[in-house]
Amino acid sequence: MKMLINVPETVVTDALRGMAAAHPELTVDVENRVVVRRDAPVADKVGLVSGGGSGHEPLHGGFVGPGMLDAACPGEVFTSPVPDQMARAAAAVDSGRGVLFVVKNYTGDVLNFDMAAELAEDEGVQVARVLVDDDVAVVDSTYTAGRRGTGATLFVEKLAGAAAEAGAPLERVEAVARQVVESSRSFGVALSACTTPARGVPTFDLPPGELELGIGIHGEPGRERRGMMTSGEIADTVVDAVLDDLRPDLPVLALVNGMGGTPLLELYGFAAEVHRVLGERRVAVAGTLVGSYVTSLDMAGCSVTLCQADEELLRLWEAPVRTPALRWGI
């Protein structure tokens, strides 16, 4: 597998150098691997910090800016960042009103963010934490590490970010984040595996004519392999898997997400099918975002995240946001 890289060891810092070059509105600490909005700490604002393994871009660094994250901490590819990064980020963005850690539910992320919270609290920063666990492909039971955090992370970061930007206190920002987590579910499908720079060959074998249902965003195999399906059949399967777990009585926000290697042309065609299925299931759609936002490097495939949204969440969704990857209203 060919990659546009120098050496596998520097992909993350190389990308951070590129972010620094392209985004003067961000402060990028390449050495310590922290991306912070330039005007941080914003006076009287709760700080929002997230992070996770690299390879999911634009998540999280692409979501740093007014109306969304105050800071992001990228780990190595598919490897949670280390506690020092999040502790440093928390210190950089805390205005005195506390910091919310947005953590995707993976053992590594949870453990490292927890250690970071201890470090930050030692430094006098008040820290709250919200766990994102939206992936219905994983059974949430004592026999698993719990559902994975995937596409819903975008909704949590956007909506809690808007609440923080509006001046809400830490408990309120945390409550919004929790509401979003509880209201969001996702399911993903891979048409091809992805290739990490360190390994150089696809993380699993996916023969022509087969696809993988219920994949995560770390190049893990999914729960089930099936014969290839049409975009319409995939939409039926994916949306029904989500609706099995989330029975919305309010309109939903829909993220029709590409895994990285799927052309936008295909993704829009898939979005049409997702809308068709939602219509057939009598689910009202308040807004749809189509694009590759929560990715797995070059994996071909897609995921759908639905977030049931009340009036307030819809208002927070519409609120201005100004980040490299998501921007409107300013």
């Binding site: 393994g53 780990g75 190595e76 590819v77 598919f78 490897t79 949670s80 960042p81 280390v82 506690p83 020092d84 993976y106 053992t107 590594g108 453990l111 490292n112 250690m115 492909a137 994983v138 059974v139 004592t142 026999y143 698993t144 590490a145 994975r148 990490t196 360190a198 390994r199 993380t203 699993f204 995560g216 770390h218 190049g219 893990e220 195999p221 729960r223």
Partner: protein
């Protein structure tokens, strides 16, 4: 024969683990790609390289300080699940060893027991969950009452790692696979076996008077 283990012994142990992980990194990553996310080899290599460099630089003078420093370095350079877990294993073990200049194997065994318990608590995991614990627990037990049966510990760790193959994972990424996790050896248990193999090798050179 019971020997007193000094800071140098522990430094050499860590160097030996680092060398073993270097050698086996691709294999660890390969195992992790079957039921995880293909980074365990790179993770362990990055952390142990940093730990060994810090040990050389700071040259802590007690066994406890050596393991505590190595553990801290793992935590601040690895990330992922293995960083905090192995970091905690070494830090807690180091802490339990206290500040003495040298410790006997029985003391090490008790300290390791505390370290492994801390791992189990941090990860909310138990034996049989198909994790590093499935190598760590039996290895510590096999050290024996006097704590110096390093060869038995190595074998127990290897057997423990091998015994993860038929298990269904209940913790970590592999748990997402459900039944599909069966049939693969756990990468973390495999690196734990390297930890005890390196311990046995290091102890072997002590026992026979070789230098590392």
């Amino acid at each position: 024969m019971t020997v007193a283990l000094d800071a140098d012994f522990f430094r050499r142990w860590m160097s030996a683990v680092s060398a073993a992980v270097d050698r086996e990194a691709d294999q660890l990553t390969e195992l992790d790609s079957a039921i995880g996310d293909a980074d365990h080899g790179a993770n362990m290599r990055r952390g142990l390289t940093a730990a060994v460099a810090s040990l050389e630089e700071e040259a802590p003078s007690s066994p406890g300080a050596v393991l505590a420093l190595a553990g801290r370095r793992l935590i601040s350079t690895v990330g992922g699940a293995s960083g905090p877990l192995y970091g905690t294993l070494l830090r807690r073990t180091g802490k339990a060893l206290g500040a003495e200049d040298s410790v006997d194997p029985g003391r090490l065994r008790e300290a390791l027991r505390a370290g492994v318990e801390a791992v189990a608590q941090l990860g909310s995991a138990a034996r049989g969950d198909k994790t590093m614990l499935d190598a760590l627990y039996p290895a510590v037990e096999a050290l024996g009452d006097s704590g110096d049966d390093f060869g038995a510990a190595r074998r127990a760790a290897e057997e423990g790692a091998a015994a993860t193959v038929p298990m269904r994972a209940r913790r970590g990424r592999a748990s997402y696979l459900g039944e599909r996790s069966v049939g693969h050896q756990d990468p973390g248990a495999t690196s734990s076996a390297l930890l005890f193999a390196a311990l046995a090798d290091t102890a072997g050179t002590v026992a026979t008077g070789e230098s590392a």
